[in-house]
Symmetry: C2
Subunit: 597 residues, 2 copies
């Protein structure tokens, strides 16, 4: 059975040395916190994930959720774990103190999310959806709606969901048919069917606050006719306490390849009472607020699953004795050497480690930008940070989840035949990881978002927010000869990306199909370049930290060697991507639909 240890040391290094928090004295979420507090919270979060959530992971996969009538039962232990989670105040970790939250910085929320998902991805879906719903109401709800819903969502007594998909529409939400009719009391009656609703029904919380995309009777067709509604499982009475059961119920649970302990529900709305959030016809815009957070969170699922799968692959590779090192036995006293002596096993482990630690750096940095975007007093700082977040959201969602799947598959490969056996437990990681490439907008949609929207957004300022930071880092490295091997690789990668960006931009201008032809390769190319930036920055940071005695020599050395591995053996993937992108889309569109045989 797998085990899990939260990567506290790595997070602490990133917070203390990579993020350069001293540069942000005016950021509200950094007031009153320091390295010691981060350390204490990280350790506490790790302990909860390791000792409470992780042991429930494999049993939860085996049991799954059960539907009886319209009630959903989560696997044994899930309720108790959720109670512990709420009692310890985790749901409010990063939410605003105004409604009872602790107002910690978002990068701390990222750390918590990564560890939760590594320990138990299915369980983590319930609080994740709740947090998304909280975020949406917090940003777009009326004052009264906020007062009504947020405190109990922050405390974890109530959870939330996001109801978008219908049987005939997933990506294309313009086709939504669920109807919302306004009644005389100003409230709406919602009717329709939604599918694939995560945490749509369960037994963890007293109420579930559904955010539902629906169409008002006289609304125009397409996405402009969509409005967003708060539709609770239980209506509230005049005191804000639970009242009548609302006309929404779970009509089915999906049997899925993975995340089996996450209830994926078919929801039926029959004249359910709902309240409009924001204005009619603006539903999709508001929903995107929630989806952007959810997309980052989904990316973190890829990272978390990669991390736990990698840890178990390392343990196996250290213990499994098989064959001898190619340059002679390393442990002649044993019947065979541990397989970690084999370069090809190390290739799998190093690829995993280089992804995980690079991605983690990129994630916490992006989370800091999220805090700056939302809370910094200076408008220009907010705007700059916003560009970075907008740019990195599709990249983190798609690249992290693609790699999450790749790394869980590598972990299985390190395990050999044992990896394919259910009892070993690593195959669950692969199955759980696969969904993250699909939901919250398929990775193809993320790539289109990057090329079709982000490339052209804000007159190019969005993309420049990345190139400018690369430039800054390269200038900082110019005086440090020991940074040259990294900064040079980064500089080349940036040049390559710039050239390719210009080419894609030009191709799109003459033929819109070229955006779709380039998109997936271009996102991967951008992600590799962003990882090169994150690794260069980490080497810079770890050298600083080592000089100051904040990290051990072996930690620093491993960081630097892993950076070197990334630059030498993973970054070259970009070369082929550039050629593939520059080839353009003519060969994609050449066949008639009937010729695909």
């Amino acid at each position: 059975m797998p085990s899990y240890t939260g990567p506290v040391e790595d997070f602490q290094f990133l917070f203390d040395d990579f993020l350069d928090l001293d540069a942000w004295p005016d950021l509200p979420s950094l007031q009153g916190v320091d390295s010691d507090i981060f350390g204490a919270v990280l350790s506490e979060a790790a302990r909860f994930c390791e000792s409470v959530l992780q042991p429930l992971n494999a049993p939860g996969d085996e049991t799954g959720c059960q539907l009886a009538g319209d009630r959903v039962t989560t696997p044994s232990g899930f309720r108790e774990a959720y109670r512990t989670y709420t009692e310890n105040g985790w749901p409010g970790l990063t939410t605003s103190p105004e409604f009872g939250g602790q107002g910690m910085p978002h990068f701390m929320g990222i750390a918590l999310s990564e560890m939760i998902t590594a320990a138990n991805t299915s369980w983590g879906m319930y609080p994740a959806l709740a947090h998304g719903a909280w975020e949406l109401i917090h940003q777009h709800g009326s004052e009264q709606q906020k007062q009504t819903w947020l405190p109990k969502m922050v405390s974890g007594e109530w959870t939330g969901t996001m109801n978008l998909t219908e049987p005939h529409c997933g990506t294309d939400l313009g086709l939504v048919r669920t109807r919302a009719e306004r009644s005389d009391d100003g409230r709406y009656r919602i009717s329709g069917s939604k599918i694939w609703i995560s945490a749509g029904e369960h037994d963890l919380a007293d109420n579930i606050v559904h955010l539902v995309l629906a169409r008002t009777p006289d609304a125009p067709e397409g996405t402009k006719g969509l409005s967003l509604f708060i539709v609770p499982k239980f209506l509230l009475d005049e005191n804000g306490e639970l009242g009548e059961r609302n006309g929404v119920r779970c009509a089915g649970l999906d049997h899925k390849m993975g995340i089996r302990a996450s209830a994926t529900c078919e929801m039926v709305y029959e004249q359910a009472v709902g309240d409009l959030i924001g204005e009619e016809g603006k539903g999709l815009n508001l929903m995107f607020t929630m989806m952007n957070g959810a997309r980052l969170g989904t990316g973190i699922q890829g990272l978390g699953l990669a991390s736990v799968a990698y840890q178990n692959a390392v343990t196996f590779a250290r213990e499994r004795l098989q064959g001898r090192s190619l340059d002679g036995a390393k442990h002649p006293d044993k019947p065979a050497d541990p397989i970690i002596v084999h370069p090809d096993v190390r290739r799998m482990l190093m690829t995993s480690k280089a992804f995980i630690e690079g991605a983690r750096a990129l994630a916490v940095y992006t989370a800091l930008q999220l805090d700056i975007e939302h809370h910094h007093p200076d408008a220009e700082r907010r705007e700059q940070a916003g560009h970075w977040v907008a740019l990195m959201t599709p990249i983190i969602k798609a690249y992290f989840t693609d790699m999450g799947f790749e790394v869980t598959s590598l972990a299985m490969q390190v395990h050999g035949g044992a990896g394919y056996i259910v009892d070993t437990g690593v195959e669950q990681y692969l199955r759980d990881a696969r969904i993250s490439m699909i939901y919250e907008g398929t990775n193809g949609i993320q790539a289109l978002d990057l090329v079709g929207r982000k490339l052209v957004a804000a007159n190019g300022d969005t993309v420049r927010s990345f190139f400018d930071r690369c430039q800054t880092l390269l200038e900082e490295c110019a005086d440090e000869p020991e940074m040259t091997e990294f900064s040079q690789a980064l500089a080349e990668a940036v040049e390559r990306l710039k050239r390719t960006t210009a080419a894609v931009y030009a191709a799109m201008a003459s033929n819109p199909l070229e955006a779709g032809a380039a998109s997936t390769g271009y996102l991967r190319l951008f992600a590799l370049t962003a990882m090169a930036w994150a690794w260069t920055g980490q080497v810079q940071a770890v050298r600083r930290a080592r000089s100051a005695g904040r990290v051990s020599h072996s930690f620093a050395q491993a960081k630097i060697e892993t950076a070197r591995y990334f630059m030498q053996r993973m970054l070259p993937e970009s070369l082929g991507l550039v050629d593939c992108i520059l080839a353009g889309g003519s060969t994609l569109m050449a066949l008639d639909a009937d010729d695909f045989r």
Copy 2:
């Protein structure tokens, strides 16, 4: 639920036009067969797979195999399907007429295997293992052993297995502990435990002929002490009829991620009676005969699963309406366009198609070489063909199964959320495909075989067998201007591979660890180059076939466009591989085992 159609037209094209069978008038397996016979057999095989095996695939996955006592029950319908299979003579399709086989060429066996695995991978494991055991006894058994066992294996009345792995040894067979003691009657008594034995016990056949690797009491340690034994489930009486139950039984069934209807057995041998094949101490060499065939067969599993997953992705992409084409609605009369209009969906379909058809060409060509190697009257021809087979075996095993997994994952991605739901049926393909990267020697082991053995084999003649054929093809293309775009891409790829080969060769000479550092990337690079060869050859062949009126214009055009897609958008992956390989292994070996955190 998925559907399946055997790719009869593509096979027929390959046999008629790509293989150039007229060049082999002396090959026994080509006597008395022609294009019409191929067509008839292909159609019959396709019909059996489509109508008998495919409907059992999803139900078999759900039920799995059941163990009660030491008896294994296969899923409902498996027995009847197996009976139909044997009644129609399929087990003997390519086996020698001497023992009741039909002696058809191996490429016909490849076609049958691909279609069986596409229709029902789990079911296909039983005859596949039987065929492997047949092959081993046929090549290495004594005349008496052949007369005893082969006829009933050809008829399908008896099946076979390969018993290698033990709990503490998979890759490293030198650690095998199962013991074989010679008794006075000249027979042996086998005792020990084997795990992960496919088709080790089941209810399809009357007897199971286990081929067991074991160690004689006074044998040296390591692989040189291994011998191979025939250990049947039922001993035979003096008339060759089923007699006493032998001391071998199934003690457990593994619960696996996929191929759940394939019985993966823990086998216990307690003083089981066995007969030595070949000499004592030569067991592993003999087993390799079987493993090479099994490795090609495993590669074909990747191809078959890719093929069926792709077919279903195409159907879904043609039917699912979602969004509008980036250059304007293609079906304004419908609520949305079918997703096959989107370039990124086409990227997934074209990548799948280009892999499948390129791999199929490479597979049938290699199968023809197998016939030449085994049966051609001319020794030099046999030797040449043997080099090709030796070289391509690890490439086909590893690249086809890596891509089988990638393509089944792409098929899921095309399906979006529906792909993750069990009822849709595509997630089974992904789960079933994953094992093929592990068993019959992990893909890492295949890569080491390529770099460590095949690169240096026969003074380089093994590798030259590929480069020489590329050279021949390039010379043939020199006079055809319409071939230039393909031949030029192939020529560049060959140059790149030659340069990298030389560099790897040099690096290995100074440090054996460099073989392992280069291996996986090098195998992929070689595979892409081999695919470029196969695609160039297919374009040449389809142009010929079109001129002769043997294929439709649309078939030829699709073939040529797919070749173009491969060259422009898949072959460039080589560029990054070369850089990664040339970076060498220092970054792989830099960390201490303890620094993997």
